[in-house]
Symmetry: C4
Subunit: 284 residues, 4 copies
């Protein structure tokens, strides 16, 4: 009997694969080598999502991080993600085309943002940018996707994937890998279908399954942290697929570290960024 | 000779009871399984109460937490309870019936709120909601209670209980359990009568006494933390009575852990949330 | 040969005296037993002083703490001293007599406040209050002192003491104890003459010398921390003199703990509050 | 074969030199002995730079620290650098000559500031002040330098040095020491040419090379931290050259300490200030 949660043809992204694909931070590198990531996140009622994903990116290898968010949110979080620079009212500027996107090494959009018309217009601009792009949460909508050269990565949980793909909850529960793969191949993008067992479907049909993580992650904010970590990993990995897979893996590994000595009911999303430095080291 | 502080017919909620009633966070759960809690807290001069109780809820098993408070307070605390979402001016919206309460798994109101007309109107709405409801501090008033299907839990200290029940301080000191039980049964609600030895009286006459805690808790803010923890516990426990009892127990157990190596004069309420992850684990 | 820094007739406030005078936090106490302290601190350009002294008070045994400061400062610090409540524009309200002072167990004024006319008017009100009163920093001025029943404690460093007393730096360097005692007896108040070796002169001529502390304390903000700690200690000690002496002693002992493993150049004032819980415990 | 990155005639600033030049914080010193440092930092989109460099200065031996920045930035960071005092709109006041600079022991300008006309005018004033002056980041421009008695220290990375000196990237890569020395001698100032191997060129031709640091430092904010640390060190060292060299050395040593147990991809600039107390101690 197969566990219905594990897609049949998927490969488990194992500890050994992580060890062999994590990048070395070259001794003679400077921040420019890792580039500047753009994170568009945080809405009026969800300012914390910008902070959580910002901390995820900062601790995951970026060179520099620019956080695009509301002025109000900048005031709230600037001291807590002090290493970032800020782009006030980024969504509007991106939607209007008045904020250049050409210099970013990678871009993520969605944690804490409202799924409204401005966000949709901004996503149009982002899709036309030359950088690898992660869309999450408020940036996940049923829409068409233009052809782009750089990777497009969507990180829905089951509910979000159902909304954007039209698959029913039953279909997804029975064969998550098949659903994710079909959608990824049809739209030429990558689906990170998040859940107790996260499935990663690449546009060419390659399918992976993540072995780490536990129910300490079943709490608001952990998805935002993953988006930030993936954004940072895109900046320090040469191979973007490894970045995606290692972000998912290490995110779960931090939660596994947490519950060794602490109750899973008590973890907060930002704890992941505090655990990451030592957890990551274990795989280097 | 009986200790007059321990109500005679009460059961001590023991370590073994905690061990056998704490929930397992099921491996395949997602945040939706634990639901969204609503915390209405924090007034203009007491913004910190929203943060303290928010941290209590976030570390006590919620799926998601929405904090309803003043815009000003959101600015102050959003980065420190980054995993929460925010409902600006919640008291007014709840009082006016313009904020729907149907989707919350549990609700708490009172830490840091002013006991004014708006609060009273909001409580009317909250009492009519279908979720388990905790009223604390500024939400404790002498009033009538409508019949509701979900549990109603009041968490007064002696002064507050005297104010809402009319019992004199002498009566309460002599037989706290009897007073709490009488009130609980008459009004069909649960009384958590807080103090050096906290008494929990359920509406059917069941009476418990909490064995943990110490004078490190005799400082502003610790009650706010308890309210938040109880709110979180309601989201992750199947049995709401266990949630109430375990919140009181673990709250005190954290303080007991604190003073093993630190002076009881020096504890701050938010230290409890920092100690909770490892303390909780000891009972799993 | 006598060390000129140690006043000749002073008693060293020793480790044994600390041990025998630190209060027990009675098991059955509640926050009301320790009372509410009022801290008036923080000016527009020195908001941090309110936070540092607030943390000092909160970790030193208060029941409740009310911080009176500017609205702007409340916004900045409310999440970091979340256990406190706030009195906006306190200086003005106290100066105008529109904020009642009768219910406070102890009051401190001065860290970060400007030495202007409003402050002076507020001090007039504070001197007429029935609570033990600490004046520090911006609240130290050359002025007359009304007769009051509760203790009045001034905590100047050498420069401030010279300004308020008229003693020259030379006089003070030669016989700090004599200068402090003379001033204390003449004005019927207590002088905590701060420096590398702090001298405490009580109004009846009793003179103490503090043996703890080191040059890690020679940095902005450490005096604010002492004021806050003393305020907290006044709330949990029965004997106010012991509160004053133990605050000075433990403040220095924290710095001594710090430099066991860390360079004295690197200590920040708020580190003292982080060290205090374990340091205090060593004397219980 | 010589490593082209190490300038040929440079001296390695070694562990032994650090040990023999780090200052003792004299037991009987008070904050006035170490003086007040002025840090002008933080722009509207880079508020965090003021905090990071502020924490660097506070943990590196200053007596007092005044942070000159935007009002908005003060609101964001005041609680996190609570030991500092603040000068609102400092750049404008310094540019206009309405903020006196005579009392500062050392001054730094640039982290997070915009390289605009106001900054340039402020630098004119700063150059005319009597204190040792560090210019970094937004304060580095192609300009002429007036003769001044106190040291002038520029801390460019390769890109910034190319911009202010006109040397090409190739020239600098081939002989960084020669380029830095030539510029330092010509303009009678000190160049800290930052990079994987930082070169320090004094105006008399003395040339040093720093042996510490690693790619964990290749991330936004680490330069701001160095500027702050150097500012603090100028306040506690008697010999300003030792201050410059020890700041660069300890900054790198903290990063070396970090990666002993943590991945270099995960370090944040403010982690350096957290590690500094114990790292510094190792050299005392
Ligand atoms: N029970 C679980 N076991 C493992 N990972 C989980 C579990 N619940 C949630 N997660 C992870 O936590 C994150 C939740 O993201 P989101 O649903 O966007 O908040 C995703 O990365 C999920 O894969
Ligand atoms: N001396 C004490 N021993 C044990 N618990 C205490 C003591 N003092 C206060 N508490 C607890 O601390 C909290 C105070 O709540 P409140 O009075 O609302 O601030 C309650 O949970 C009390 O039960
Ligand atoms: N070198 C030192 N040794 C011991 N204590 C010191 C030293 N320098 C400062 N202090 C203490 O640090 C605090 C400074 O207060 P203030 O001058 O108001 O900032 C006082 O409590 C002083 O006694
Ligand atoms: N690969 C590296 N190895 C050692 N130090 C580095 C490295 N990359 C950057 N740094 C240091 O980090 C700081 C970066 O400053 P900035 O370029 O202004 O952000 C400087 O002190 C550099 O010397
Ligand atoms: Mg999500
Ligand atoms: Mg309470
Ligand atoms: Mg002072
Ligand atoms: Mg720089």
């Amino acid at each position: 009997m197969n566990d219905p949660q594990i897609p049949q043809d998927s490969i488990i992204w194992s500890q050994e694969m992580v060890r062999s694909t994590l990048p070395k931070r070259a001794q003679d590198s400077h921040k420019g080598v890792f580039g500047t990531a753009l994170l568009v996140a945080g809405g009026p009622d969800m300012p914390g999502a910008a902070l959580i994903s910002g901390l995820g990116a900062l601790t995951s290898g970026v060179g520099k991080l620019a956080i695009g968010t509301y002025r109000e949110t900048i005031r709230s979080i600037a001291h807590a993600a002090a290493e970032a620079t800020y782009v006030p009212d980024a969504l509007i500027h991106i939607a209007n085309g008045t904020h250049s996107l050409t210099s970013y090494k990678a871009i993520a959009c969605g944690p804490g943002t409202l799924p409204d018309a401005v966000t949709e217009a901004a996503i149009d601009s982002l899709l036309n940018s030359p950088a690898p792009l992660i869309l999450d949460a408020g940036a996940l909508s049923e829409r068409s996707y233009v052809k782009r050269s750089a990777p497009l990565i969507l990180t829905p949980h089951a509910g979000e994937f159902s909304r954007i793909s039209g698959y029913s909850t039953d279909q997804m529960a029975e064969s998550p890998g098949a659903c994710a793969s079909a959608f990824a191949m049809e739209h030429d993008l990558t689906i990170v279908l998040k859940g107790p067992r996260t499935t990663i479907a690449f546009p060419d049909g390659e399918l992976f399954h993540n072995p780490t993580g536990n129910a300490a992650l079943a709490k608001g904010g952990t998805g935002d942290m993953l988006t930030g970590m993936m954004l940072g990993m895109l900046c320090c990995h040469e191979n973007w697929r490894h970045a995606v897979l290692n972000a998912v893996y290490l995110h779960g590994a931090c939660a596994d570290e947490f519950i060794k000595t602490r109750s899973p009911h008590t973890m907060l999303a930002h704890d992941i960024a505090k655990l990451l430095p030592e957890v990551w080291k274990q795989y280097e």
